[in-house]
Symmetry: C2
Subunit: 585 residues, 2 copies
């Protein structure tokens, strides 16, 4: 079902219901671009650490717009032995909703746009009919604006209306505006004397005079004008309530698609995606809060918005599937999963081969919970959202710098004495080169000591130098600008970024490692839905608040799950088996 601005409100309860009844959900986003760097290869290097990858994606991918959000809900019908699937395709666009609303700028990448155009993507649906949204900070600000206006109106028994944020001292009327103000005052006096007229419409202007019941309305031409009415107390209250209801509706309309994301978050349901790191980052960035500075903070935010994630690209790239799935791209994977030894699940009512149903809480998929596939990283298969990341030994890796004319073949040439090597380009003039044996590393460094055109260092040396440079850079910038910036900073409040985050504050213990993951994924599960009772509290699965999810409650639950998992025993050795990580980990 396609959901656009005009049918969003009418279908929202249908969406809530689908999420509520579902066993699990699947999501997928379409973006206006992927990388604002020179190329995708500049964005991803085979020896990125998870922290580095996160920083790169945050810096180079978040200015694009997530403008289509696909949501599929799956509910298993035990009687019919099939899945009931409901799919929703939301078109998203940050249409400004009033004069003071944020005017969002987003980047488009022509290759991505061209790709979507070739798929028949309907850009008019996005730009003309996209559903608006607000992140939590924007929603809070808008709510405050409404509250302030209302409290002013309520305290206005004295009938004195003041424009928001105006200084309270008398206003000096500029010479050239005196005429128009005089005319308005005259009109109002005339109107007050006159018994016949119930209301008075003033010419469009921006000032707020004192009056009786004053309303600012907007004409079709977007000119604002003031209506002044004589009303009794009861009528005044009725109008006030009407206005409040209208304001609440406006607020809901402005929050728009974010309400769907809140519902997904509040449901605590398992959310499935394919290569979903960017989907998760964009969803949080666009509908919750600007992405945090550090990866560890990002993991915390994610645990609030998506407490249970499953990345099918990671599954397909992992034993035992790895050996029987050659290509893990979504289209190829779909084809492969229709052949033996796989058999497709019964979905809807149009698939015939009957198949046992795997619960969303099955232990079979537990090893993959909250681990997101890390694309094009050599030795770290996933980003672990629920604990520290894998730290592979990179003692066989060299960092090489060279003239920009060099090609991969030059590197093969240079290292021809060392047998098999792997090259991971960083930029025009540097690359990581991994040797087959760590013992060769020091030999390579030594033989290059007096080379002029290129330079070789160990991975450890490279990391150390990078940290040093970072410290030096920070210090230099701080010193140079401190003097100049001091005056300006004095008059400013704390910067926006620190105010705009809104997520559960939840310290990571660093030792938390997800437990109950020792079984192989193909092992038969001990019983269906066996985690339903102990897992998620009832109130979490059934509450779909209109407001943002109760973040504190979520944080508490998250801690509980983590401690349970930790107490259930460590994973390290078993994880090693499943993900085929070298013993050095």
């Amino acid at each position: 079902m396609e959901v656009i601005r005009s049918n969003f409100k009418d279908n929202l309860s249908k969406v809530y219901e689908a999420i509520e009844e579902a066993d699990f959900l699947a999501i997928d986003g379409e973006f206006s671009g992927i990388s604002d760097g020179p190329s995708v290869s500049a964005l991803t290097n085979g020896f990125d650490t998870p922290e580095e990858r996160y920083q790169k994606l945050k810096k180079h991918s978040m200015d694009f717009l997530l403008f289509q959000f696909g949501l599929c809900t799956f509910k298993y019908d035990h009687t019919e032995e099939k899945y009931i699937m409901k799919s929703f395709n939301f078109y998203i666009f940050p249409k400004p909703f009033n004069r003071s609303s944020p005017d969002v700028k987003f980047v488009c990448q022509s290759s991505s746009i061209d790709f979507l155009a070739n798929q028949g993507f309907d850009f008019n649906k996005v730009f003309r009919n996209g559903i608006p949204y607000l992140n939590q900070e924007e929603e809070r600000q808008l709510r405050e604006q409404y509250d302030e206006k209302r409290s002013q109106a309520n305290g206005a028994g004295s009938l004195s209306y003041i424009s928001p944020n105006a200084t309270k001292c008398p206003v000096v009327i500029p010479e050239d505006q005196k005429k128009i103000i005089d005319k308005i005052v005259e009109q109002i006096e005339e109107f007050l004397k006159n018994e016949e007229n119930e209301s008075l419409e003033l010419e469009p202007c921006t000032g707020y005079p004192k009056g009786i019941h004053v309303e600012t309305l907007e004409s079709d031409k977007k000119e604002r004008y003031i209506v002044i009415s004589k009303v009794d107390e009861e009528e005044r209250k009725r109008r006030e309530q009407q206005k409040q209801a209208k304001e609440q509706e406006e607020l809901n309309d402005a929050v728009g698609f974010s309400r769907v994301v809140h519902a997904i978050a509040n449901s605590g349901k398992l959310v499935i995606g394919h290569n979903m790191l960017l989907d998760v980052m964009h969803t949080i960035h666009q509908f919750y809060c600007p992405l945090p500075d550090d990866l560890s903070e990002f993991k915390e935010v994610t645990s609030c918005v998506f407490p249970r994630l499953l990345d099918t690209k990671l599954m397909a790239s992992t034993q035992p599937f790895k050996d029987i799935i050659n290509n893990t791209s979504l289209a190829e994977l779909e084809k492969r999963l229709k052949e033996v030894p796989f058999s497709p699940p019964k979905v809807g009512s149009f698939l015939s081969p009957p198949k046992n149903h795997v619960s969303a809480r099955s232990k079979l998929i537990e090893p993959f919970f909250n681990k997101l596939f890390l694309m094009r990283v050599m030795d770290i298969p996933y980003l672990n959202l629920q604990g520290p990341d894998l730290q592979p030994k990179r003692d066989h890796v060299l960092h090489v710098t060279f003239p920009k004319e060099w090609k991969t073949s030059d590197l093969y040439q240079l290292f021809s004495a060392f047998g098999n090597i792997q090259v991971s380009w960083i930029d025009d003039t540097s690359a990581f080169v991994s040797l087959s044996q760590p013992e060769q590393v020091q030999i390579a460094v030594n033989t290059s000591r007096y080379a002029e055109s290129y330079r070789i260092q160990t991975y450890a040396e490279y990391v150390e130098k990078k940290h040093e440079e970072k410290r030096a850079k920070r210090k230099c910038t701080e010193d140079s600008w401190k003097e100049m910036e001091r005056k300006r900073l004095k008059t400013q409040g704390s910067p926006y970024i620190s105010q705009s985050r809104y997520y559960c504050i939840n310290s990571f213990t660093g030792t938390s490692i997800v437990g109950k993951r020792s079984m192989s994924p193909i092992q038969e599960e001990t019983g269906p839905d066996n985690l339903e009772e102990e897992g998620v509290p009832e109130d979490q699965t059934n509450s779909y608040a209109e407001s943002p999810p109760d973040v504190k409650k979520r944080a508490k639950r998250f801690k509980k799950i983590k401690s349970e998992q930790v107490s259930a025993g460590g994973l390290t050795s078993n994880s090693t088996e499943i993900f085929e990580v070298p013993e050095t980990w």
Copy 2:
């Protein structure tokens, strides 16, 4: 007429013809956004200098995409006494044309997109069917790529094909690729022995083996594969020529819409726009070269691309029109020009009141040539493209800094003793305040000397401090980074920006002031088309080269026009009359 990718080539000669026969042209662009700053008011201040305004627009507006270009050509039919108008509406999109083509990123501003959506703008036409384009540097690079490939192919009598840029030494085949290479060598040997087969299609791969006639083709799946054919010399030549013709066509397709802009530039025709500074900047930036760093360089480039410009917003804002035109926005202006004392010109065949025709070379419009309207600048009505800009005295202007809570009313309050003032906001904490009399300026500065919450300085002091800061900033940055950057710079060539400019090098004399402007705009012209003989050489008006305009010739002509104008006498005093500039200029 709507022109999109699919009908562009078929209609190009029609467009060329329309430009060639026209007396003058009119252009208008639609953009994906206007300002990437926090607001348009941050982009424009009433006391911007032309240099400052240029820098602001360059910094905050050029990342948007010009995605629709409107062109109207007007030719006066003396027999029918009416204008023949031809209008073209080009949809533009930087669709990548091959693997190595630039992947353009552009910004969209949601308010601008929403505005266009409300006007019924068809985004699918842009993104699915937009005409591609290249600027001159990109065109040059692509041409070089083709030339290099061709010269390699021509020198390949030895039948040795080398992948471009490959080092010439033997390639070491990595261990894991040896099997596949061995298999290919075997296949080729088999194929060479076998008399029956005329060609051999290899499996998709990226290496180039030695062969007979080798072609790399692309499958529907965008996989590249190699076809090796046995051909005699004649057939080889025929295929080579075919390939060259195909490459030339590909090149033309890639240059795309820029060819229309080249034709406009080469025509030297008068180009009319309304508030056209951004249109001119975007057109040059997108289809010619990155905008130069300085305003004076920008004027030089503009003289090459648009040698004769006319801005109708400037005309409408200038005496004698100023007094009888209240609103100079395009829609309002159109309405007003249908009423007395104006009468609309006869256009096409559907307007009835007959009217004399004003030649595009008429002296009546000369005072406005190559002057672009400067929006929202208090005392500089236009950007003068053909000489130094006006330098108004700003000795009645103060620069004020204050806490960010201050509103305009606070400033009126502060200066209430000085009578009428005008406020031009710079940002949250500063503004220009102009007093009615310059004598008050020093009084205001003196009385504020001990104020704590705000600070007042003269405009001259403000300018001086800004220059100082700029110098300090530059020095600091240079010092801090010099050390770190030295090593990297050593291996790099000169930066891209300095290579990518391509326009006439043409020193501005600084004293050049456009002559022949002493007559009032409503004065009757002395004779029709009186400049036609002496003005532009015949070869300029009739040549529509496929290649970029002959920039050297243009530069020469530009110099000639300028020197004629200078020798024809100064304008200053007359310009003052026409544009109502204060005597202090």
